[in-house]
Subunit: 136 residues, 4 copies
């Protein structure tokens, strides 16, 4: 699974157990999605500018090992699997060869008002290429 982002655990990200608070991983998954799209013709801000949104339908995180303050996390994402009005992306976050979390998110294609839409042809093609690129 290709690396799409490196992110440092900030002190603000830790909790009183001395580890990265578990909810932060959804933030790092989200940052990975932005980076996954950046090199395509449809970086996420462009997609949003065209009125196409990808709200979450489901998020799953499996916590394997804790991360600590100042750890440098490697965030991997892919494959992207688009089917009709839905999209699924898998993630792995590692630190020094240790698996920290893995999981996935599922999204719907919607317009700005939140109505489910079938993505236009060129958008479909970008996601189809992302799938291929990541072996999906």
């Amino acid at each position: 699974m290709p690396e799409v982002l490196r992110v440092r655990v900030a002190f603000a990200d830790t909790d009183a157990m001395g580890v990265a608070w578990h909810g932060n991983y959804l933030r790092w998954f989200e940052m990975a999605r932005t980076e996954l799209m950046r090199p395509t013709e449809l970086p996420y801000p462009v997609l949003v500018g065209r009125g196409i949104h990808l709200p979450l339908i489901e998020a799953l995180v499996r916590y394997r090992n804790p991360a600590r303050y100042d750890d440098l996390l490697i965030v991997r994402a892919g494959p992207v699997r688009a089917r009709g009005v839905r999209l699924r992306i898998d993630y792995r976050i590692e630190c020094d060869e240790r698996l920290i979390v893995d999981g996935h998110t599922e999204h719907a294609f919607t317009d700005a008002a939140g109505r489910v839409i079938r993505p236009p042809r060129d958008v479909q093609e970008v996601f189809a290429r992302l799938s291929g690129a990541h072996g999906g």
Copy 2:
């Protein structure tokens, strides 16, 4: 599923789509766990004081409807299902009769150093009673 907490969506909780950012639900699930334990002999701070922690193994959130700034959310939790060194809790968050999210978290019983432990008898009994109380 019994109501354990009411929480208002703060402006800080919203994102640029105008809805509660999806990662906040893990925070509200966590607050619900604190409230679930509060009326027992082992409120969460007491549990932690005894060196017993409940780090997450897995979290799943299914997003059903968006919540917005100032919405008053009803957070329901239960049943609590403890089996050996593991614990699972289900959640539903509603607003004005609409289902906003549902999901679950799975936890391991560990000591302060993160080593998995079998919970002492009295801790087991509190969780067994919580299971019963919530129909689990």
Copy 3:
């Protein structure tokens, strides 16, 4: 200074020093602003619905004592001082008679596009009354 809100320190709010992370106080100040406006004719969502926003110009927090997981914080706010296109609010957060933080925020009245505006007469009146009510 009148109490406008009680808020529990969630586990998510703590950091690896075992105390409430310092940035959270801006969130609690913001929640206090929502509660300050709620009993008026112009609760914050109504104000926003009329296209009037109150973005921050300045925030100051003085940290007096740490707060810990599950502490019940009393958030006090007032007086509200509106002068022309600006607004200043003072805050104090306490726990068990101990002062945790105090500080203030300053805001500009703007339209939805962020242009500074002079608030309409009825909005001015609500803020004038809030000032009076809190001894400002």
Copy 4:
């Protein structure tokens, strides 16, 4: 003021006004402190490992212009001014030559239990050198 960090505004960092939520700047100031110390003999995790902490006494943020989703922020910090048991650091955050926020934080040197301490000689020297390096 030297650049110490570049940080992207994540979608999670935005609020319903479509801009970076104002509390996030304290997080970015904190990340800048970590980076300021990294190239010294006393990176922040080492300092903490020696039982020396730098809790906040005061934080001030002046908001000049909004930042938006995916903006690449340049975080500048310095000079570091240590006097006795206290430390003050100034910050500026910019985006495309626009000033977004400026401000400062003040810190006390404490031990792990939060008692104010005079920093040991070698710690004083590191901070004295940081002051010099940043023109303070």
